[in-house]
C-alpha cells in the first residue's frame, strides 16, 4: 500500500522521430493510499499506457513515478510490488489454480504456511475454493479472470492493484457481485485500486474518484456527482451520462443569461467577462423537466419520439434545428405535438471553447 504520485509524466511511443506523437500529454496526479480510482475514456485515449507506466511495463518518456515519495521511475516491474490485471484472463496454464494464486507469493519467497493462508482467504473471497486442485486451463473464461484477479489480491503489501477493464469477459450478474467484492476488499485491506474502463456505469458505481481521459489528456478528475452535474468540458458532458448531455450553440444575452434561438435562458453563472463567441449551454437530460407552473427558462418544443425504458421515458424533442432530450417520469402524460420544457437555472452549465465557465 502506498501513495502513488505521477509527476509531469508524458509518454510517446516514437520519441526519436522528428515529430513524435504523444500517447500521454504532460500531467501530474496523486493517487491517495487506500482509495478507489477509475480511469474512464474512449479506446486509445492513453488509459492503458498510464497503467503500464505505473506498473513499470512502460518507462515514461518524461517525468517521474513516486511510490510513497520514493522515485521508482527506473525500477523494473519486478521491484515495484504492484499488481496488474489485464482485460483478458492470463493464467499459467500448466499450473493448478492453487499454484496460480500462490505464484506471486512464491516468487517473493513467502513461507508455505503464509501462502496457504493467503491463497485460502483470496479463493474464499472469489469463490474459487472448490477448484484449487484443478488445472487452471480447465476453468471457464470468467473463472480464469477470477484467477487473474486473485493473483493481484493475494499479496497484502502490494502498492496498488491496477485493473485494465478486468470484467469484460465476466457475465453481468457476477460482474455486479465482483465489483462489490472489490469494494469490500478495498475497505477491508485499504488496498489502492485503480480501475480502467470505458463503461461509465462501472466507473460511477465503483470509484471514489473518476479520472476522465481523452486523446492523451486528463480532462477531469472528480467525484462521480461532479462529473455528472458539472462536467468541466463538453467532452465529459458528452461521454458521461446516457443519453449524453444536451448541448446547444448559444449567444450571450446578459450577465447571467444566454439565448437559444429567441428564448432567453437564465443561468447561475456569471457571464460578464465572456466574449460572445463559441458559447454553448449544457444541461443533463435528467434535469430537463416538463414545465408545470414555472414562468421562465421555458422552451417550446415539438415532440419527435418517446421511448419507454421501463423505469423512465426518454423524450426526444425538436426546437428548430436543435434536438433536446429529457428523461421523464413514466407516469407523466405527454401531449402529442408541442410541449414546454423547463431548464432549471442551477443545472445549466455554460461552456466557452468547450470549457466550463
Amino acid at each position: 500500500m502506498a501513495k502513488i504520485e505521477l509527476s509531469n509524466i508524458s509518454h510517446s511511443y516514437n520519441p526519436n522521430d522528428l515529430n513524435p506523437t504523444y500517447a500521454l500529454n504532460p500531467f501530474s496526479m496523486t493517487w491517495e493510499n487506500g482509495k478507489r480510482y477509475a480511469i474512464l475514456g474512449p479506446s486509445g485515449c492513453g488509459k492503458t499506457t498510464m497503467l503500464n507506466i505505473v506498473s513499470g511495463l512502460v518507462k515514461p518518456s518524461k517525468g517521474n513515478v513516486l511510490f510513497d515519495d520514493n522515485d521508482v521511475t527506473n525500477l523494473i516491474t519486478e521491484e515495484r510490488n504492484i499488481a496488474q490485471v489485464f482485460q483478458f484472463p492470463v493464467i499459467y496454464s500448466t499450473m493448478t489454480v492453487f499454484d496460480n494464486l500462490a505464484f506471486p507469493l512464491r516468487c517473493r519467497n513467502f513461507s508455505e504456511e503464509k501462502i496457504e493462508e493467503r491463497v485460502k482467504s483470496v479463493s474464499d473471497t472469489l469463490r474459487l475454493s472448490t477448484f484449487l486442485n484443478m488445472p487452471a486451463r480447465k476453468l471457464t473464461a470468467d473463472q480464469k479472470q477470477l484467477i487473474s484477479l486473485g493473483r493481484g489480491l493475494v499479496r497484502e503489501d502490494v502498492a496498488a492493484v491496477l485493473m485494465d477493464e478486468p470484467l469484460t469477459v465476466i457475465d453481468p450478474d457476477l460482474k455486479f457481485r465482483l465489483r462489490r467484492n472489490l469494494k469490500e476488499i478495498n475497505e477491508e485491506y485499504k488496498t489502492t485500486l485503480v480501475y480502467v474502463t470505458h463503461d461509465q456505469n462501472e466507473a460511477m458505481t465503483f470509484a471514489d474518484n473518476i479520472i476522465v481521459m481523452d486523446q492523451g489528456e486528463i480532462v477531469q478528475v472528480g467525484l462521480p456527482k461532479d462529473l455528472f452535474e458539472r462536467p468541466k468540458t463538453t467532452f465529459v458532458g458528452y461521454f458521461i451520462g446516457s443519453p449524453a448531455m444536451n448541448l446547444f450553440e448559444t449567444q450571450l444575452h446578459s450577465d447571467n443569461s444566454v439565448k437559444i434561438n429567441d428564448t432567453t435562458i437564465k443561468t447561475n453563472t456569471n457571464l460578464s467577462k465572456l466574449k460572445n463567441n463559441n458559447i454553448k449551454l449544457g444541461i443533463r437530460s435528467e434535469f430537463v423537466k416538463v414545465a408545470k407552473d414555472e414562468s421562465e427558462n421555458l422552451l417550446e418544443v415539438n415532440i419527435q419520439k418517446i421511448e419507454d425504458f421501463g423505469n423512465f421515458k426518454l423524450l426526444t424533442a425538436k426546437m428548430g434545428q436543435l434536438t433536446i432530450k429529457s428523461k421523464i417520469n413514466r407516469e407523466i402524460e405527454i401531449p402529442n405535438n408541442t410541449i414546454k420544457l423547463h431548464f432549471p437555472a442551477e443545472k445549466c452549465c455554460v461552456y466557452q471553447d468547450n470549457k466550463l465557465i
Binding site: 513499470g56 516491474t77 483478458f88 499459467y92 505464484f103 516468487c107 493473483r151
Partner: protein, 282 residues
C-alpha cells in the same frame, strides 16, 4: 448423401493406408528372404511362399572381417550426432526465437523479421552451396571426419528450423503472459523459464521432432564430410549396395533406420494431442 460421403471417406483412408503401409510390409517380408526367394518368383507369405531366414539381419551386425557390414557403430554415431545437434539447436534456437519475438532489434536497415529470415535462408540455399565452405571450415579447425565436426555442421543446419518454429510459436504466446509474470515478481529470466517455457512445450516438441528428423535423414553432409574414421547410418546403408543388390539386408537396414523416427512420432503424437497450448489466454 451422407452415406456416400462416408463411403468415399473410408475408401480414401483405406487406399491411403495401403499406399503408406505396403512398402513397409514389402520391406519386412523381403528382409527375411534370401537370394533365392528374392530372385526366383514373386512370393509374399513366409513359410508358405518362401522359407524365412535371418541372414539379411545377421549381416548387419557381423563385423566386416566375418563377411558382415556392421551398421551398429554408424547407428550409434547417428544417434549421438542427431541428438546432440538437435538438443543444442533447440536450446540456442529457443533463446534466439524468444529474443526475436519479444525484443525489437535495429541495426541499420535490419529488423527482427530480417534476422529471422536470415536464419531461415540457411535452409533455402541448396546444400551443395554450403558443402565447400563447410569442408574448408572443418579441415581448418581439424574436425573433418569426426563426430564433433558433424555435430557443428548439423547445428548450423538444424538451428534455423528451431528458430523458425519457435519464433512463430512465441509470437502466438500473448505478451501479457510475460508481463503478468514480471508483475507477479519474476525477473525477465524467471519469466522465461518459469512461465513462458512451460507454456511452450508443444512448440518445443514440434521443433525437436523436426530437428531429429532432418538430422537423422541427412545423407549429403554425412557423405562429404566423413571418410574412414566415422560413418553415419545413411552413408553406411547406401554403402551396402553392391553389384548384386542385397535386397534382404537393404530392407532390414531400412527398417531399423526408420524405427527411431516411428518411436519419436508415437511419443510426440501423444504430447501434441494433449492440447497444452489451449487455454493460456481466454
Amino acid at each position: 448423401m451422407e452415406k456416400l460421403y462416408k463411403f468415399l471417406k473410408y475408401t480414401f483412408i483405406i487406399l491411403w493406408t495401403v499406399f503408406i503401409v505396403a512398402p513397409f510390409l514389402w520391406a519386412v517380408s523381403t528382409s527375411f528372404k534370401d537370394f533365392q526367394s528374392v530372385n526366383s518368383k514373386v512370393t509374399y507369405i513366409p513359410w508358405l511362399d518362401f522359407e524365412p531366414t535371418l541372414e539379411g539381419w545377421r549381416v548387419l551386425v557381423k563385423s566386416p572381417a566375418r563377411g558382415g557390414v556392421d551398421i551398429v557403430e554408424p547407428y550409434f554415431n547417428s544417434i549421438f550426432v542427431t541428438c546432440t545437434a538437435s538438443l543444442i539447436s533447440i536450446i540456442l534456437g529457443t533463446l534466439a526465437a524468444y529474443a526475436l519475438s519479444r525484443f525489437t532489434f535495429k541495426a541499420g536497415f535490419v529488423r527482427n523479421n530480417d534476422i529471422t529470415f536470415f536464419f531461415i535462408s540457411q535452409r533455402i540455399m541448396p546444400p551443395i552451396v554450403l558443402s565447400i565452405p563447410f569442408f574448408i571450415f572443418l579441415s581448418t579447425i581439424g574436425l573433418l571426419d569426426s563426430l564433433l565436426g558433424l555435430v557443428v555442421v548439423y547445428i548450423v543446419l538444424l538451428m534455423p528450423i528451431a528458430v523458425w518454429i519457435m519464433v512463430d510459436f512465441f509470437n502466438r504466446v500473448p505478451k501479457e503472459l510475460d508481463e503478468t509474470a514480471l508483475i507477479d515478481g519474476c525477473n525477465p529470466y524467471q519469466a522465461f523459464y518459469k512461465v513462458v517455457l512451460p507454456n511452450s512445450i508443444p512448440g518445443l516438441i514440434v521443433a525437436g521432432m523436426f530437428c531429429i528428423i532432418f538430422g537423422w535423414i541427412d545423407f549429403f553432409f554425412a557423405f562429404i564430410l566423413t571418410f574412414t574414421e566415422v560413418q553415419l547410418l545413411p552413408v553406411k546403408v547406401v554403402a551396402l549396395n553392391s553389384s548384386i543388390t542385397p535386397w534382404w539386408s537393404l530392407s532390414a537396414s531400412a527398417l531399423i533406420s526408420v524405427a527411431p523416427l516411428i518411436i519419436v512420432a508415437f511419443v510426440v503424437e501423444r504430447y501434441l494431442s494433449k492440447g497444452n497450448l489451449s487455454g493460456a489466454l481466454k
